[in-house]
């Protein structure tokens, strides 16, 4: 909205319009009736290609970064700097034998990875990857995203149950418990954004974050007190939703062999990994959209860089954050996991909901009142955080070491 009003906007730059121009060039010669269908197919193919490649190189980046953090180089044998490693992995996965246990539920065992990948992908349809770059524009696209994402854990349950393996079944139970626990803070942390932006549509939410306060401070939601709190809760819940370390309980290697993946091999196993990374990418993309200003540039002078590049940079940064966290934290126990959700994240998100409401109600405060508004919002984040953190860590004093000093 803001950008539409701005004259001589960077929206007219050639690089900015390149994807749309390319699409028009590819579909322009078709009859009118076919055009939207082909355009839809094109956007599907683009999303599949880009995110497939992103998945491939995320696996490599993850292994490289984990390696560096652990004082070793990571994969570097296949191609220069190991850049061909993902393809070698793909060939390996494709040529491996596909083993299905005799006692397994054959149909569900087959369906689980397929369903998981499909569900992880469909959420990407509503993400605005750049100015005018969204596959499906809907009024309730945020709701659509979470409705699609909520079902992924169902596929993990299917995998765990169909394998007819006690570790897998335990993983299935854990996946369900984890989903029920973390779906709540995930959705609650999104609600204030919807309240403030006044819309359930991702394009509107991104548009609401356009512009800069004093020409320097972007109007991104994550850069407000309530927004930062919501962003933090969202990212923690997203970690749990995508079964990433430190919340990777369903596939906890050291306890459950590989959890729901125990009885999977070859290409199906690779599909599970693909789904994990796609889910991670989808949730990160949603976080960028909701909190980090989507495709908006951080500074006005940087607007000459096309919007999709900004989106990509933010997405990659969040994904690197996921990897960094994985390299740092040990896995939680299942009771700690649920405790963290119900006793910390959910109350924090609930308080933050009120905080966001207050922010939306005081939207017309300017000047000195704006400072008061910021102060109120910051207070509404810090005070509950202190209280909740204290109650969460009550009884867990600093650990004393008897023989070793930390």
């Amino acid at each position: 909205m803001i950008l539409a009003a701005a004259p001589a906007s960077p929206a007219d730059a050639w690089l900015e319009r390149a994807p749309v121009l390319l699409r028009d060039a590819l579909t322009g010669w078709l009859p009118d009736a076919l055009r939207p269908w082909v355009a839809a197919l094109l956007s599907i193919a683009t999303i599949l290609g880009v995110f497939g490649l992103l998945f491939a190189y995320m696996t490599l980046a993850e292994r490289k970064i984990l390696g560096r953090i652990q004082n070793r180089p990571g994969p570097n044998r296949t191609g220069p700097f190991g850049l061909l490693q993902p393809f070698a992995d793909a060939i390996k996965a494709l040529t491996k034998e596909d083993i299905v246990p005799r006692a397994a539920d054959q149909v569900l065992h087959f369906l689980a990875p397929v369903v998981l990948v499909a569900l992880s992908l469909i959420g990407l349809a509503v993400i605005p990857f750049g100015r005018n770059l969204v596959a499906v524009e809907m009024e309730a696209s945020v709701l659509y995203f979470f409705a699609a994402g909520a079902a992924t854990e169902l596929a993990i349950f299917m995998a765990g149950w169909a394998s007819r393996n006690k570790y897998s079944l335990l993983a299935a139970m854990r996946a369900l418990a984890q989903l029920i626990s973390y779906e709540v803070p995930l959705l609650l942390s999104v609600v204030p954004v919807i309240v403030v932006a006044g819309s359930l549509s991702t394009t509107d939410i991104v548009a609401a974050q356009g512009g800069w306060a004093a020409g320097l401070w972007p109007h991104w939601h994550a850069l407000t007190p309530w927004g930062f709190s919501a962003f933090a809760v969202f990212m923690v819940a997203a970690l749990a939703e995508s079964n990433r370390s430190p919340f990777d309980l369903p596939e906890a290697e050291s306890e459950l062999i590989a959890g729901h993946l125990t009885e999977y091999s070859g290409f199906k196993y690779a599909l599970f990994f693909m789904a994990e990374y796609l889910g991670m990418a989808a949730l990160s993309a949603m976080a960028v959209t909701l909190f980090l200003g989507g495709w908006q540039a951080p500074l006005a002078v940087l607007e000459f860089i096309p919007s999709y590049a900004w989106f990509g940079v933010k997405l990659l940064l969040l994904l690197l954050g996921f990897i960094w966290i994985r390299a740092t934290f040990p896995r939680l126990r299942i009771d700690q996991l649920t405790r963290l959700s119900w006793k910390f994240l959910v109350p924090l998100a609930l308080v933050n909901l009120i905080n966001g409401g207050v922010w939306a109600a005081t939207a017309d405060w300017t000047g000195a009142a704006a400072v008061v508004r910021w102060f109120i919002s910051a207070l509404g984040v810090v005070v509950p955080f202190i209280f909740l953190a204290r109650s969460l860590s009550a009884g867990y004093g600093p650990r004393t070491y008897r023989y070793a000093s930390p």
Binding site: R68, N71, P73, W324, I325, T328, F329, A389
Partner: protein, 224 residues
């Protein structure tokens, strides 16, 4: 405060990530096949046979096929067949030599007992550890030709120990020459007074020590 520890942990890993690009102390992994590890001198794993020269390893093996190592080897990985004939050794003395000397490195447990019992300093521990092979019998059952390595190589891998051994052998050789000279002199002077027991006494302390044992630590003897 909740989260302080989390941030500290993140800082630690971030420091390692960045440090691994410029700080060698944070990047300790060596890429093995290209970068060979610097082995400490004391490193030893499988035995090899010492020959005096690199030109004619089979002709100058110190081993006289006494079979003590074969008998002492705990996992019994050494197999020796004595030769029927005799060949002159480095001192020119006629000795039996091993017609077959094989070590099954798949069985060897690197205990070094063979080295310790050898009276002739003929078998020593190597530093060759990349012995992986595709065929267990062709690749891991090493024969005489594969085991033989020159003394120079021994100096290269275990310089301190090799100098000691050389010094000792030289001393022994000198003692033997002295003895031979004395014996010859005694024979010339008084043929009936020649007694073999008198010879060992003067100036050869090393020879009196048990020949196979590792010399006690200390400054190496000056030279050979």
């Amino acid at each position: 405060m909740l989260g302080k520890g989390l941030l500290q942990g993140l800082a630690v890993t971030a420091k390692n990530l960045v440090g691994s690009y410029h700080d060698p102390a944070r990047y300790v992994t060596q890429e093995y096949p290209e970068v060979q590890p610097k082995l400490p001198e004391a490193y030893r794993n499988f035995p090899f046979l010492v020959s005096e020269t690199a030109d004619d390893p089979m002709g100058t093996l110190r081993c006289v096929a006494c079979q003590i190592c074969e008998k002492e080897c705990p996992p019994q990985c050494i197999y020796i067949e004595k030769s029927k004939d005799k060949k002159p050794d480095a001192n020119g003395k006629l000795q039996i030599y091993p017609a077959v000397f094989a070590i099954d490195t798949a069985v060897c447990m690197s205990c070094q007992i063979c080295v310790e019992v050898c009276p002739f300093d003929a078998i020593k521990m190597d530093q060759e550890f990349a012995i992986a092979a595709t065929d267990r019998f062709d690749g891991l059952l090493l024969n005489r030709e594969q085991l033989a390595k020159p003394n120079a190589y021994y100096h290269q891998i275990h310089p301190t120990e090799a100098s000691e051994v050389d010094a000792r052998l030289a001393a022994e050789r000198r003692a033997a020459e002295e003895k031979a000279r004395l014996a010859a002199a005694a024979k010339a002077a008084a043929p009936k007074a020649a007694a073999p027991t008198a010879a060992a006494a003067p100036g050869v302390p090393a020879a009196s020590a048990s020949p196979g044992s590792i010399p006690p630590p200390g400054p190496p003897p000056s030279s050979s």
